[in-house]
């Protein structure tokens, strides 16, 4: 899947601190995940399962596929890792799930304050951490800044890979949104919900906002920003609506 990973750790590493092996383990685990679950590697477990070369998925792949199915059902098929004419592609769930696991292993090793960023998806612990959200049109600018103590932030957007997220209901690229960012307790949830909401298009914003524990910041194709009142915007108290900005109840699916 090939994404850059950066880890910022506040705790000391080494004797008395977080074991160096635990830090190395984060990167080793993510490399292992890529080797096993990437649909772009013909010898990965995902590719072999898809070709029917393995009788049944491993327990971990089973877990990933169960999550995929959960989100497929929750989005009425908009989020689908088995699109017609394409191979099995569980990337959208694998990434959040694997990075979340990496963060948990760091925590288990004694890390208290860290910020793990894998390809723009973030797990923060022991913050407050200031998490900028990339502007959908300018790579060097932000469109908002969030403050996250413990939690995860994931963004799905069109800007870099073009129209790569497909609405499973129509089989066409999703174009209703430029970007959607989800803050959730875990990256497993944040990443999958961001991708699923993006696949659903504009209606995905309300869908994501209705997920328990999820806060949403979305930019639609008309460059309009829609966000939930509880979004942890840095420097602003979260809560019911600010003076500027009009509120409305989202229409359902």
């Amino acid at each position: 899947m090939g994404f850059p990973v950066s880890l910022r750790l506040d705790d000391p590493v080494g004797p008395g601190g977080v074991p160096e092996a635990a830090v190395d383990g984060v990167f080793a685990w993510l490399r292992e995940v890529d080797a096993r679950f990437s649909p772009f590697r013909p010898d990965s477990e995902v590719s072999r399962l898809d070709r029917g070369e393995v009788p049944r998925p491993s327990a971990q792949l089973r877990e990933v596929l169960d999550l995929c199915e959960e989100y497929r059902a929750a989005t009425g098929g908009a989020f689908d890792v088995r699109l017609p004419g394409r191979g099995l592609d569980p990337c959208a769930v694998v990434k959040g799930w694997s990075v979340q696991r990496a963060a948990e292993s760091l925590r288990a090793a004694g890390a208290r304050g860290f910020c793990l960023n894998a390809g723009g998806d973030v797990v923060a612990a022991g913050g407050p951490w200031r998490v900028g959200v990339r502007h959908p049109e300018h790579a060097d600018r932000l469109c908002t800044v969030l403050e996250v103590a413990d939690g995860a932030v994931a963004t799905s957007a069109r800007y870099e890979r073009g129209d790569h997220i497909v609405d499973g209901r129509t089989g066409r690229p999703a174009t209703g949104l430029l970007a959607v960012t989800v803050v959730a307790p875990t990256l497993t949830e944040a990443d999958a919900v961001a991708t699923a909401a993006f696949a659903m298009g504009t209606e995905g914003v309300a869908w994501a906002a209705a997920r328990e524990g999820c806060e949403v910041f979305a930019v639609d194709a008309g460059r309009r920003v829609l966000r939930t009142p509880g979004l942890p915007v840095a420097g602003a108290a979260p809560g019911p609506g600010p003076a500027a900005g009009k509120e409305h109840t989202a229409a359902p699916v």
Binding site: G120, R130, V131, T249, P252
Partner: protein, 138 residues
Amino acid sequence: MKRALPVLVLSIAGLVPVWRYAPSPEAVTAPAASSEASVAPAAPSGGSTVAAGPVVGTEKGPVQVEVTFEERRITAVRMLQQPDHPQTTAAVPRLIEETLDAQSADVDTVSGATITSDGYRESLQAAIDAQAAQGAGA
């Protein structure tokens, strides 16, 4: 209450599918519960009347709404009971609309769909990492 009207319209638009949502065959109550017979008016507060609608059984679970009236206008609708199901919970979230802002700010990390290394190089996160590495090396 200034913004009540747009909120109201969207609330009602949002709730109609809830009321109409796949009721099981034995569901008895009329779907248009907003201002009709089955509503039991309660405690008026400052000229408004709050009324709880009947509990409507659907195949996903019971649904009940509470409607606030000012005279004959509905000024607020609140869900008292709803099934834990995306198609009904989706009627509830409130969203704030803002304009898209481009800003630079001091941040610890950047969230964005940065997938390829080309994108990474031009991204802010790269700058942050470079600065952190420099700081650590100094």
